[in-house]
Each structure stands twice: as C-alpha cells, then as structure tokens.
C-alpha cells in the first residue's frame, strides 16, 4: 500500500472504513490517468474558482523592512476566499465519478466548510458540515453563509469542541453512510489516500508560483513561507520546490498565547509521534497518547495533528518549522493591510508575521514568497475584538436594538 511518507501516514482505521478508502483510492488513481478528469478539474479551477491567483510583489512592505524582496501569493482571491476551494472541486469531481450523492466535511475556521457547501451547491450534492461548538461561536458569519448555500451545519459538542472533534464526527458519519456519502476531508491529514490526494490538488499553487516568478525577474525564490494547521496550503506551495534544494521552505505553526500545553498548536516543539484520526504523525498529546487541548487565534491552525508528509519533510530537515504568537499575528494583519492593501486571514497572517521578522535579516538580493492562503473577511469579529474597536460595538448595539 502506498500512502506512507517515511514512517508517517498510513491508513490506521477500523476495518469498516477500509473498503471505502480503497474505493476512493482506486477512483482517485483512475481519475489521474483520465485526461478528461484533469481537463474538467482545470476548467473549474479557472472558470469557477478564479485561478490562477496573482503573485503580488509587496513593494511597500519590502521597502519598509529594507531586506529581502517579498512576494505574496494571494490565494485569498479564490472563490470563497481561500485555497480550500481547490481540493473541494477536485474531490467533488471524484465523488461524482463514484456515484455519491452527499458530501460531508469538517471545518475549523469555516473556510473548508464554506468551500464544501459551495461545491455541493454547484455540483448538486446534499451537504452536512461538522464544526466544533467553540469554532461555531467564533466563526458565526461562515456558519450563516454555509446555511445559505444549503448545507446543514452540525455543532460538535464533545472533546475539545474544535477542529479535531469535527474530524472525528465527520469520520463517524462517513462510517455510517459510506454508500451514499463522500467525506471531503479538508487538509492533508487523515488516512490514505487523503494526504496524497489533497496534496495533488493543492500542488497547483506551487506550480503557479514557479511560473509566475519565472515570468517576473528571478527564477527561484530563496524562501517560501506558509502557515501550517493540517498543512494543505503549505504542502500546496512547497511541493513544486521540494527538489530545488536552494529554496528554503518554512512552515509557521500557531504559537498562540503561551508556551504551556493548551496555549498553542506547535506540534513539533510540544508534540510527539502518534497514531490518531487514521494517520501517523506528530500530535500534541500526553505520555499516555491522549490528545491535548490546543489554542490559536486562528481556528484553522487550532489542531493537534499535522500532515504526515510535512512530518516526514521536517524529520528530513527539508522543511523548517517556526512559530509566531497571536499578538504578532494581529500586528501582521495591520501591517499588511496598510502597506499592501491586503487583509490576510489570521491563519495566513502567521506566515506574514514570520516574513516580517525574516526579511530585514536578509540582503536585498534575496526573495521570499509568502503564501496568503486566505483573505481576512471571515475574521472581522475577532479583529474588532482584538483591536477594541468601540465604534464597531456601537454599530452592533444599534443593529441589535433594531431587532429582526
């Protein structure tokens, strides 16, 4: 069986899921060999998602920091606001080939759920999205939008009530309804073939960057930086550069609000190897193997595990992992907004925050590409709270007074 990345990955699931995953693997492999599938996928990326997304030279930010040239891969311009739509389109086309009629998904920040609800509407599937109770509270706007798209959003009230619990709930639904349902897992995690399949779909991001840079001035960047929750946007932009050893690849984890367990989501600093949710990788867990609580201001990074391919790339020292704090992230959102006119998602702002630290240490000949995996519209309420915008509170008050 494929699906191992060194000692990581695999398919550690109960027997009752194995036939479904085998079916999915066969469908995925046959789709890749089918030219019409690849064409259809590319057609919808261009004509529905809006690819390719631009690679923007961040002229003002570069000047302000006085170091390396910074480029921004603006994935926030994808339909639904983030890179997630790409693997949703890919998986839905596979689900169509398999004759499934229902799509389910887990979501953290709500971006993957929103993208799933969107493709379900577009391609005529019914749709259920699982979301942790904690995330549902902090990402209410996305819940509303998913419902407008016709999806049923189910609140998950067990465990830590965040992303990993939503994954568990979705896997259980998948087990029970596997004959009609395809589970659109939203990252490069979970049992084989999900990490491989989503990495394949997301590899378009790196391919575009490579081409866009070639069209511009330089051939290869010196650094590529991406935030890492499960790791779909990171592996998407990294994969085209894995063999270009001169390119330093940096994954930015959520440093959260402190060093203690439960205050961050740094799987490599605080975690150890385990087998959870169907795959072997690094997890934030205790000595007994019980998953620990995590925290990040960005719901999409608030996850105890990390994609197995990234775990392997880290052990091979091909990808370096660092972290930034919630505070640095908020300040990075403000900096990017004012210098470049781009409000990044809180997840993506982790990559921006690290680039802001790194660029001044490098010479002006060096080039950094930062993956802006999503735009910040969804974070409006968190930003308002963090920036103590009293006017916004007054606006909400008057809004509520009006009543429905």
């Amino acid at each position: 069986m494929k699906g191992h990345f060194g000692k990581f990955g695999g398919r550690y699931v109960p027997e009752m899921l194995i036939p479904a995953l085998e079916e999915l693997e066969v469908a995925f492999n046959s789709a890749l060999k089918d030219k019409s599938f690849v064409q259809e996928f590319e057609y919808y990326l261009k004509n529905f998602a809006g690819r390719p997304t631009p690679l923007v030279f961040a002229e003002n930010l570069t000047r302000q920091l006085g170091g390396a040239k910074i480029y921004l891969k603006n994935e926030g311009l994808n339909h639904t606001g983030a890179h997630k739509i790409t693997h949703c389109i890919g998986q839905t086309l596979i689900a169509k080939r398999m004759g499934k009629t229902r799509l389910i998904a887990e979501t953290g920040a709500g971006q993957h759920g929103l993208a799933t609800a969107t493709v379900a509407a577009k391609f005529g599937f019914s749709c259920t999205v699982y979301m942790g109770e904690v995330d549902m509270v902090r990402q209410r706007p996305n819940v509303f939008l998913m419902e407008q798209l016709g999806a049923k959003v189910v609140s998950v009230s067990f465990g830590n009530k965040t992303l990993k619990d939503a994954v568990n709930a979705a896997l259980k639904d998948y087990i029970e309804n596997v004959s009609t349902t395809h589970y659109i897992l939203g990252s490069v995690v979970g049992p084989h073939p999900y990490p491989t399949m989503n990495a394949y779909f997301q590899s378009i991001v790196g391919k575009e960057v490579k081409k866009q840079l070639r069209d511009d001035t330089c051939y290869l960047p010196d650094y590529v930086i991406a935030c890492v929750g499960g790791g779909s946007n990171a592996i998407g932009i990294f994969s085209s550069f894995l063999k270009d050893l001169s390119v330093k690849l940096i994954g930015v984890e959520a440093g959260g609000k402190g060093q203690k367990i439960g205050q961050h989501a740094r799987r490599f600093k605080g975690g150890s190897v385990g087998v959870v949710e169907g795959y072997k990788s690094y997890f934030l867990q205790n000595k007994d193997g019980q998953i620990e609580k995590t925290h990040s201001i960005a719901a999409g990074l608030d996850y105890a595990g990390i994609g197995p391919q990234l775990a392997n790339l880290r052990d091979q020292k091909r990808v370096e992992f660092v972290s930034v704090t919630d505070k640095e992230v908020i300040s990075a959102v403000q900096t990017l907004a004012r210098t470049e006119g781009i409000i990044p998602a809180l997840e993506s702002a982790h990559a921006v925050a690290y680039a802001i630290k790194l660029a001044p240490q490098l010479s002006q000949e060096k080039t950094i590409v930062v993956n802006i995996s999503g735009r910040g519209d969804k974070d409006l309420f968190i930003l308002v709270e963090q920036l103590h915008d009293k006017e916004f509170y007054r606006f909400l008050e008057s809004y509520i007074k009006k009543g429905i």
Partner: protein, 264 residues
C-alpha cells in the same frame, strides 16, 4: 491453552450463546470498574472487555465516548488499566480482554504493551484501528502471537471477501462482527441483513463469531442464537449504569444482565 480458548470451548460444548460485556476503565470510577467486573462474572457473563479510555475514540458512539471523556477527566491513566487487569485476572475466573485504540498502545510501546498485558493476565486484545497493512511498521500481530494474546479482529458488514480473507488469516480467539455499518451505541432493532452477513463471515472464519454494536435487548440476544457464538453488550450497560441512583447501580446492572436471559 489460553483462558479465552478454554472459555470458548466451554460455551460451544454447552451449546449456548456466550455473553461478553464491556466496561470503560475508570468509569464511573476505578473502584466501580472493579466492582462491575466482579458483578458481571457473578451474573453469568462469559468474557469481559476492559476498554482503555482514549481522547479520540473513532469507532465509539456518544455513550462510550462520554464515558471515556469522564474517565479521563477523573484522571485515569493507561497504567491504571494494567493495575486493574492484574487485580481482576487473579480474582475472577472468566477471561478478560483489553479493548484499546492504537495510539494508547503505540505510545506505551507495542511490544511492551503486549508483554505487560499478558503479565497482567489479559487473554486478548481488541484494537479496532490497527489494520493488517501496517504490520511491517507496527508488528502488532507478531507481538500478540509472541505473548500468547488473542488478536481479535473487528469486521463489519462492509468487509468484502478480500478483507474477510485477510482478517481470517491473522485473527485468533474469536472474530468481532459489528452488527451494523456504524459506530457503537444501543439501538432498538437489529439489521434485517444480519444473518446473511454472518453466514458470509462463516465462510472465511473457523473461529467463533461475536456480534456487537447495538445489542441492548433480550430479543436481540434471542435473534443471535444459532447464528453467532457470542453476543457483545457495551453501550447498553453504560446506559443502565447512568440511569438511576448511584446506590443501586450494581442491582440494576445485575438484573439487566439476568434479563438478557442468555443463561439457559
């Protein structure tokens, strides 16, 4: 001969349906787990599985998941499961099994887990999320054999001929058939396709068949007679534990098991 095999032989020679029950270690408390297992033996249960609580129990429904959560909040450690197993296996004569998710086994060390489980008196292991395909990496099957532990495979109605064949090759003790495609939890009715599925399983397995997932009523047990060798009752017992006063928990559990009426 392993204690489990002896018990399975005995059930067979008595021409009856065996009963396996389930506890979550540390639920409602460690002391009560011990009491419950003693009581289960007294009420005529043939085998008990002791589930090690895990934070992310993929194959479990709400009932067992919440029991695991509460046990972990109480502070239950994997080490406690071994302590309880050691104590109980000396006291009770029926075979005891560990049910665990693989991450708890893996973190403990697969070989050490098997070795210590044997030393503690466990007769076998039910680990639903360790697939045959990862044997080269994990050596789970090898260590079960080495330490004379039954490697109980869990299969489902979606297991096709290929999967049944592969599992039959490595399974020992008995094979655990989930009564439906789904997760654990008591249900009102059993699937109408259950018997057809069990006959399909019998084509591949020569060891006894246990059926669990959803079994909660005397009618279910009756329906299994002649089609399976062991009935497994898990979530339904936790529901009984949860419903009512703490004071007469043992009485409720005892009469529930007697009512299941497997002792004929």
């Amino acid at each position: 001969m392993n204690k489990l095999n002896q018990q399975l032989e005995k059930i067979k020679s008595e021409k009856r349906l065996g009963l396996m029950t389930h506890v979550v270690v540390g639920y409602p408390s460690l002391n009560e787990t011990v009491e419950l297992v003693r009581l289960m033996e007294k009420s005529g249960v043939d085998i008990v599985e002791l589930q090690i609580p895990f934070s992310d129990p993929l194959a479990d429904g709400t009932t067992i998941m919440q029991a695991c959560e509460k046990s972990l909040i109480n502070g239950t450690k994997v080490h406690d499961a071994f302590t309880i197993m050691t104590k109980l296996s000396r006291e009770v004569s029926i075979p005891l099994l560990f049910m665990a998710y693989y991450n708890n086994v893996f973190k403990y060390g697969t070989q050490k887990f098997c070795k210590d489980a044997k030393a503690a008196g466990a007769a076998g292991l039910i680990v639903p999320d360790i697939p045959i395909e990862e044997e080269q990496e994990e050596h789970f099957i090898r260590f079960c054999k080495k330490y004379n532990l039954a490697n109980i495979r869990v299969i489902s109605p979606s297991s096709n001929a290929n999967r049944l064949q592969k599992n039959a090759k490595v399974g020992s003790g008995f094979v655990y058939c989930t009564a439906r495609q789904g997760i654990t939890g008591a249900r009102k009715k059993l699937s109408s396709k259950l018997n057809a599925y069990l006959s399909q399983v019998k084509k591949y397995f020569t060891i006894p068949l246990a059926v669990g997932f959803g079994i909660s009523k005397p009618e279910h047990i009756k329906a299994l007679k002649g089609n399976a060798d062991i009935a497994v009752v898990g979530s339904a017992l936790i529901d009984v534990i949860d419903k009512g006063d703490k004071g007469d928990m043992e009485k409720r559990v005892y009469s529930f098991i007697r009512e299941l009426n497997v002792i004929d």
